[in-house]
């Protein structure tokens, strides 16, 4: 070992190298720290997400019954979704599979191809090809399952509406959630796959009907293959069933009594606020929304007749002469005139420099309040409104009876109507209130707008000595698993119109007098029940066309005892004029109290020779 130098290496270089290694190892440790300690939760969630898949077990949406709780109005029917799992399929025969599916499912090949994944790696995640597939179709596929490799099906219950006439307005319909709805409802457990009520009871009580979806959790590997046969199951909670106040027989009777006329019918139990029937025409059939043809949702939503509009609560009209009931109430309570006060109707009256006509151009002659209501004399009520009450008192009484405000029925989209005041007119039209405006308001024209339901509430108040119950459609909630009653809706007084009791007795007599001696005595011909009520014929500006109203209740009795029905019928001016509202009401009373169906009522009326029934031809008649 003769070499003196260079037998040892340079130490400082070793230290430099050691320093470099140390720095890199510190960086790595820091990076590991930030991954595993700082960001641990992010990656933990990610790891869970990739390896856990959950499948929804749909909850059964609650059924909806009418007050008889026997036949469901709305129920769920078995329906299937057809799924395709590419990893189970025979790759070479996909085209053949599509053509076979298109035949059996009645779908075009293009539509099926659209739902299938592209030429990707085969996956174990099923893709839905179509839903709403019938049991028969599934059976056809199941019988030849060998030629449908990769196809499977899952149960996906579909909403089915057993009754689809005017009741659809009450029931509403369901649909897939939209992005806008999801943004609002996200915190309430709805997901992008939720089906929810879009209208009517389905919407109003969606939170009761929907229940809660269950889930089945499975762990899957990188290819989406299930790792164990039994995942953990969170069972679904089925939605509660609803019992409505609606009587489907009366609903059907009222619907047919109105007939194919744009308009609405309200049948109300004044003692509780329960809605017995709520008809609006035209309507829709939610079972047909997804089928091509005139019942299709898209077609209906473009219809100029607005079939989705529930005219009983979502449209307000001039109440016309029915509003004279309100003025009569005001006049009686305010005692501005007595029974002996007479107005001489000459067929017209002068106000300022304008001439207003009564509907009877020849004039009614001398009338007191009772006779004027019976004859519906415009001159009398114009004088009463302009000279004795004034718009402020009229508005005060209108509001006391609930006009101009919501009746808080458990359906969405109700409108409040309008009761004009000078301040309102000034604000809206920027013009002063005139005597003519008061006169118009006095006879239920001009700016006054009410919904049929509000009118029903006024009649209910007259029956109840002023109490108006909150109108409602939900009667009770039932737990479907054990049939127990979860909740019962009890009557609740919405407002009270504080008139002296005897005024109501007088009002009821006056209303009876309208039917017996007044305008409607020629059409109220049923032999079952004595009724009281008021007609209304609303001007809408076109000749030969008027809104036709009839606000009534029955049975009318001297002592005002016993259960009663309020019936409001309304036929819009756009229909051919046939003064239909009182006639429809008459048919309804005949049916309700005679326990007859519409067809039986008409047959019976034919027999009795009721004049307005002569033109009604039942379908069975044609067949016979």
């Amino acid at each position: 070992m003769s070499v003196v130098h260079h037998t040892k290496i340079n130490r400082s270089r070793v230290y430099i190298f050691a320093g470099i290694m140390l720095i890199i190892m510190i960086i790595y440790t820091y990076k590991l720290f930030s991954l595993q300690i700082v960001d641990k939760l992010i990656y933990e969630k990610k790891a869970k997400e990739v390896s856990q898949r959950s499948k929804v077990i749909p909850s059964q949406r609650g059924r909806i019954y009418d007050r008889w709780f026997d036949v469901p109005l709305v129920m769920n029917v078995d329906s299937f979704a057809i799924n395709y799992t590419s990893a189970n399929a025979d790759d070479e025969n996909v085209d053949e599979l599509i053509s076979r599916l298109s035949k059996v499912m009645n779908l075009s090949e293009k539509d099926i191809k659209k739902r299938l994944p592209g030429n990707r790696v085969s996956s174990y995640i099923p893709v839905e090809i179509s839903d709403g597939v019938s049991y028969e179709t599934v059976v056809k596929i199941a019988e030849n399952i060998d030629s449908y490799k990769g196809i499977s099906w899952t149960s996906k219950p579909k909403r089915f509406y057993n009754y689809t006439g005017s009741i659809s307005h009450v029931l509403g319909y369901v649909g897939n959630i939209t992005n806008e709805e999801l943004q609002i409802l996200y915190n309430q457990g709805y997901t992008s796959a939720s089906v929810l009520g879009k209208n009517g009871i389905e919407k109003q009580y969606d939170h009761i009907l929907r229940g809660e979806n269950g889930r089945i959790y499975n762990t899957v590997d990188a290819r989406g293959r299930r790792m164990s046969d039994q995942g953990s199951i969170q069972p679904p909670e089925n939605g509660y069933d609803l019992i409505l106040t609606i009587d489907r027989h009366i609903q059907e009777l009222a619907e047919k009594a109105l007939g194919p006329r744009k308009g609405s019918v309200v049948v109300l139990d004044p003692a509780t606020g329960e809605i017995v029937a709520l008809v609006s025409y035209p309507g829709f059939n939610p079972n047909l929304f997804n089928t091509p043809g005139p019942g299709n949702f898209g077609v209906l939503s473009m219809d100029p007749d607005f079939p989705f509009l529930n005219r009983a609560i979502q449209s307000s009209y001039a109440p016309a002469s029915t509003f004279k009931v309100l003025l009569t109430a005001a006049a009686l309570q305010e005692e501005v005139i007595d029974d002996n006060y007479l107005v001489n109707c000459t067929g017209s009256m002068e106000l300022g420099n304008r001439l207003f006509y009564c509907h009877k151009r020849t004039g009614h002659g001398n009338l007191n309040l009772k006779e004027a209501l019976a004859e519906s004399c415009n001159v009398f009520f114009g004088t009463l409104g302009v000279e004795f009450l004034g718009i402020d008192i009229i508005a005060e009484y209108a509001k006391a009876f609930g006009f101009g405000s919501l009746s808080l029925i458990d359906l969405q989209g109700e409108v409040p109507g309008n009761i004009p005041t000078p301040a309102w007119k000034n604000q809206t039209y920027n013009s002063p209130w005139t005597g003519g405006d008061t006169l118009n308001a006095s006879i239920g024209q001009g700016f006054v707008a009410v919904t049929p339901l509000q009118l029903a509430n006024m009649i209910a108040a007259i029956i109840n000595d002023g109490d108006i119950y909150k109108p409602h459609i939900l009667k009770s909630v039932i737990n479907p698993t054990n049939g127990s009653v979860v909740e019962t809706i009890s009557p609740e007084i919405l407002r009270t119109a504080n008139l002296d009791k005897e005024r109501y007795q007088i009002l009821r007599e006056y209303l009876r007098n309208v039917v017996t001696n007044g305008t409607s005595n020629v059409v109220i011909l049923n032999d079952q029940v004595a009724i009281a009520g008021k007609t209304g014929t609303g001007e809408v500006g076109s000749k030969e066309h008027w809104h036709s109203w009839f606000a009534s209740y029955g049975p009318w009795t001297e002592d005002n005892e016993g259960p009663k029905y309020v019936v409001i019928t309304m036929s819009e001016a756009s229909n051919d004029w046939d003064w239909w509202a009182p006639k429809a009401a008459d048919i309804i009373y005949q049916g309700i109290f005679g326990h007859q169906t519409y067809e039986e009522v008409i047959e019976y009326m034919h027999k009795r020779g009721v004049w307005y029934a002569r033109d009604i031809h039942l379908e069975t008649d044609v067949e016979d």
Binding site: M1, H6, T7, K8, I9, N10, R11, R13, V14, I16, F17, A18, M21, I24, M25, I27, Y28, T29, K31, L32, F33, L35, Q36, I37, D39, K40, I42, Y43, E44, K46, A47, K48, V50, S51, T219, V220, D221, A222, R223, M227, S228
Partner: protein
């Protein structure tokens, strides 16, 4: 006769008491400990989601670890100085084997890197790492008195370029890359001129940077960067090359005439730039699509999350979800549900991280740190330069594997399929490394001049 001689000598050494105490137990146990951890997680990686072991890789690994330990001990007790004379023949032999492999080898994972019959085979490229270290150390040792000359530097560079080139032809980019740090570190420790070493280092880094930049602009940068055209336009490239060449010539002339140092610096930088610039073009030509994609997803895995980015994303998820103490042995979801690819080899660190967490990782890093520390200690304590340089080459190789493999698992290095030594599954690389460690043990053992 010679065999008996070796045995006798071995027995003699083994029975000498001071020699036993001279044995580096620390590195020995650190290595053994790492390998045992490796066996456990190779076992874990073979367990599927139903808890059933589906491969026998861990059994093979046990065999390799135990035979490898014997090889290590054998070389530990053999005098490493014998290898000085054997270095060149061994180097030439491995080169021959590698050429044979390129011509006749079996293709595994796209590279023709296996030589053998049936399931019995070796990877000469793994062995070549060791024989190259030996020959490089031997060469530098022989020329240690003129170590700073350019001639020695160039010759040494060619010594590693030959096996590296052959590995590249297999093609196995990851393994080939290992030769560069081995060369740089050995050269650095041997006392080579820093400017030459830095020249190679800078050229390498710039080449990688220039190769990546156009892809970065294309896939990651949100705005178009016009200056990137110098890497994509052929005409511009020719002009730029000419300009650089002229500048190089001018600075050389300036240096010869004026002998001013800044001419030297100019020449130095322009050359680095020119070479990396041309190399980056060549690299982009040579790189396969999947390699380009690996570079792109390294910069942003979300460019192709289901494809090339999958490995990075899944590995990061595995590592991150492990947390401080891990999910427990055999409890990793990323690994057992097969989200992690290449679990027993390239991504062994990810499964370890997922199951034993940050604390476990610290243990692993500490064990490696101990190995590095002992290697550096051997560099310093070695009785001769040859031993120091072998230790330098070995530590360079082990550290480079450590840095690239773990860096890849935690997303700070691009994906190159090189194993994590001692932990990853694989016989050839384990045997080679253990053989190298055995030589280091021998060097340590004979660190005192008075021992035999």
């Amino acid at each position: 006769m010679p065999e008996i001689f070796i045995w006798r000598q071995m027995l003699k050494i083994k029975l000498t008491a001071p020699s036993i105490f001279g044995f580096d137990f620390i590195i020995f146990f650190a290595v053994e400990f790492l390998m045992v951890i490796g066996i456990f997680f190779i076992y874990s990686s073979g367990v599927n989601s139903n808890g059933v072991i589906v491969t026998n890789e861990f059994i093979k690994q046990i065999i390799w670890v135990s035979t490898g330990t014997f090889i290590m001990l054998f070389f530990a007790f053999m005098d490493y100085r014998r290898l000085r004379g054997l270095a060149l023949p061994l180097y030439l032999l491995t080169i021959l084997l590698m050429v044979l492999t390129v011509l006749f080898g079996q293709v595994v994972n796209g590279a023709r890197s296996w030589l053998g019959i049936g399931s019995l085979g070796i990877q000469p490229s793994e062995i070549s790492k060791l024989t190259t270290i030996l020959f490089l150390s031997s060469y530098l040792n022989n020329n240690r008195n003129r170590i700073s000359s350019l001639w020695v530097f160039m010759t040494a560079f060619i010594i590693i370029l030959i096996p590296m080139g052959i590995v590249l032809m297999q093609p196995d980019l990851g393994t080939a890359m290992v030769f560069i740090p081995v060369f740089l570190i050995t050269m650095f420790i041997a006392g080579g001129k820093k400017r030459y070493i830095l020249f190679i280092l800078f050229t390498g880094i710039l080449t990688i940077l220039f190769s990546i930049l156009p892809y970065w602009e294309m896939f990651i940068a949100s705005t178009k960067i016009n200056s990137m055209i110098i890497f994509t336009d052929m005409r511009l490239m020719k002009i730029l090359c000419t300009v650089t060449a002229v500048l190089i010539v001018l600075s050389v002339m300036g240096y010869i005439l004026a002998r001013k140092p800044y001419f030297y610096i100019m020449f130095y930088s322009f050359t680095i730039f020119g070479i990396s610039y041309i190399f980056s073009f060549a690299a982009r030509m040579v790189l396969k699509d999947y390699q380009v994609m690996r570079l792109i997803v390294f910069m942003d895995p979300q460019v192709d999350p289901k494809g090339a980015g999958w490995n990075i994303i899944q590995s990061l998820t595995a590592v991150g979800s492990g947390g401080a103490f891990g999910k427990g042995f055999l409890q990793g979801t990323q690994s057992h549900y097969r989200y992690l690819p290449e679990q027993s080899t390239d991504f062994i660190f990810s499964i370890i991280s997922e199951e034993i967490g940050f604390v476990g990782n610290l243990v692993i890093i500490c064990l490696f740190a101990i190995i590095f520390w002992r290697c550096l200690n051997i560099i310093i304590k070695s009785r001769d330069v040859f031993g120091s340089l072998i230790a330098a080459g070995m530590v360079g190789m082990i550290f480079f594997h450590f840095m690239i493999n773990i860096g890849m698992a935690i997303g700070i290095m691009p994906i190159t399929g090189i194993p994590l030594l001692f932990l990853s599954y694989g016989g050839s690389s384990l045997w080679t490394t253990l053989l190298g460690i055995g030589i280091l043990l021998s060097i340590y053992h004979r660190r005192y001049k008075n021992t035999n």
